[in-house]
């Protein structure tokens, strides 16, 4: 970085840089929690996951039906916009490819997705960013069922984007065109959110 003022006396923790850590990020061992409001209570009996094309329903699964779909394991690094990254996290879930297939679709009906969650949270992602094994609806973390505070029973997992895109307590993926900015995207965060390009805030 040219032009950045030196902070006198700051040395940092050193320890070299890790090529798996995007710029401006640092590694953590624990798993910080960030969300805008209270953690919603879990009610598996009434839990539903649905896919919509605009306002038309495409498919819907109960918790039992969802768990009966083919499952995928994923080991990935995750990157939060508040600058922590966590390496080699293990997840189990149902890939978005599998969901599309189960809904009888060969490709996304619209180019963008708006994810809707319990509590009203939303986030937007280009549909192609959810395909080819890049994303899943995860229900297990490190071999255990996903904690409610981390999005349990199920969250979207899009590890190649900043973690606010990995919407907790996800209930619906709505395919849309044009793109509709979600909750943080409306609140000044970047519309896409690539950690490797440091797309933290609107305009980055």
């Amino acid at each position: 970085m040219t032009g950045a003022p030196i902070s006198r006396g700051f040395r940092g923790r050193g320890g070299g840089t890790n090529s798996r850590v995007p710029p401006g990020q640092h590694l953590v061992e624990d798993f910080p929690v960030l969300s805008a409001g209270p953690t919603p209570p879990v009610d598996l009996a009434n839990w539903r996951l649905s896919l919509d094309d605009g306002d038309s329903p495409l498919a819907e699964w109960t918790w039992q039906q969802f768990l009966a779909l083919p499952q995928t394991d994923l080991t990935v690094d995750i990157h939060c916009v508040t600058t922590w990254s966590k390496l080699d996290t293990h997840w189990k879930g149902v890939s978005i490819d599998t969901l599309l297939e189960a809904a009888g679709l060969t490709e996304p009906p619209q180019p963008y997705v708006l994810a809707h969650c319990d509590g009203g949270y939303t986030t937007n992602i280009p549909a192609e960013d959810l395909l080819d094994g890049k994303a899943m609806i995860a229900f297990e973390f490190e071999g255990e069922e996903l904690d409610p505070e981390h999005g349990g029973p199920a969250r979207l997992l899009v590890p190649h984007l900043y973690f606010w895109k990995s919407a907790k307590w996800v209930q619906k993926l709505q395919f849309v065109d044009p793109e509709i900015p979600g909750f943080w995207e409306e609140n000044g965060y970047h519309i896409y959110g690539d950690p490797w390009r440091e797309q933290r805030y609107d305009g980055d």
């Binding site: 970085m1 950045a4 003022p5 030196i6 902070s7 006198r8 006396g9 700051f10 040395r11 940092g12 923790r13 050193g14 401006g24 640092h26 953590v28 624990d30 798993f31 910080p32 929690v33 960030l34 969300s35 805008a36 409001g37 209270p38 953690t39 919603p40 209570p41 508040t82 600058t83 180019p111 509590g119 009203g120 280009p126 505070e149 044009p178 793109e179 909750f183 943080w184 409306e186 609140n187 000044g188 970047h190 519309i191 896409y192 797309q199 933290r200 805030y201 609107d202 305009g203 980055d204």
Partner: protein, 254 residues
């Protein structure tokens, strides 16, 4: 160029600005406030935060988020930082930094955990430790702007010495201020202490907070376990999740 790139190209990039330490204030043995001169600062709303970036002489950089403690109307940006054992950035900001030292920041960030005097409804603020920082910006703003909404702060600290802004909070809660402050100390209280001495629970929240029917605007900030349990309990007590805003600062504690 994709549609995504077009959309983001319309907004100006948030600039890194140079902050120079104007004043250092010891708040508690482990917490310091830094009053900063930040030429070009665009202004903020109470509750927002900044990203701070430190650069070492060898070019190494580290970046963290810090809430703004000063009210928007004050002519300065104040950050209040708790020193964490082995903390890379906090040990610099709350330990090493002196008047005249420089680092970068950009912001303000966050359009959600914010309060302005034109929001109606009583204010219920719940803080754990340094989680009081963005709530202090709200209380300072409320006082300076003479906002009429009644306000209550429930503040959990480890010990009496660890209460951040203790004297200023007492002053803010003076006669006719409409502000009530309740402290709870979780790791031992001094002789003669009349406040609470347990972790925040349902009994405390219903006794101290406003009734759900009054539709208080609730801001909860602190370490994750505190925020999780307070937000869940408030919800169970009948407060609308839509009126409960949370900000979580720390690790999970697990």
């Amino acid at each position: 160029m994709t549609a995504t790139e077009t959309a983001s190209a319309t907004a100006p990039k948030k600039q890194w600005l140079t902050a120079t330490v104007r004043e250092v204030i010891d708040e508690t043995p482990r917490v310091r406030s830094l009053v900063l001169d930040v030429p070009g600062w665009p202004g903020h709303r109470a509750g927002q935060h900044v990203d701070v970036r430190l650069t070492a002489p060898d070019g190494y950089q580290a970046q963290r988020s810090y809430s703004i403690a000063s009210a928007p109307v004050e002519n300065a940006i104040t950050l209040t930082i708790e020193m964490l054992p082995d903390g890379e950035v906090s040990s610099y900001l709350a330990g090493e930094a002196r008047v005249g030292d420089m680092f970068e920041l950009r912001g303000p960030i966050g359009g959600y955990f914010v309060w302005t005097p034109d929001l109606d409804g009583p204010l219920f603020l719940v803080a754990g430790g340094s989680g009081v920082v963005p709530l202090m910006a709200i209380l300072r703003e409320r006082a300076i702007r003479k906002a009429p909404q009644p306000a209550t702060l429930l503040f959990s600290s480890r010990s009496y010495e660890d209460i951040i802004y203790r004297a200023e909070l007492d002053t803010l809660a003076g006669e006719g201020s409409g502000l009530r402050i309740f402290h709870t100390l979780t790791r031992g209280a001094p002789a003669g202490w009349t406040g609470q001495t347990r972790r925040i629970d349902a009994g405390m929240l219903s006794e101290i907070g406003f009734a759900p029917g009054r539709m208080p605007r609730i801001f909860v900030c602190g370490p994750t376990p505190l925020v999780e349990s307070v937000a869940r309990t408030l919800r169970d007590l009948g407060h609308s999740p839509k009126l409960i805003k949370t900000e979580r600062f720390g690790p999970t504690g697990r």
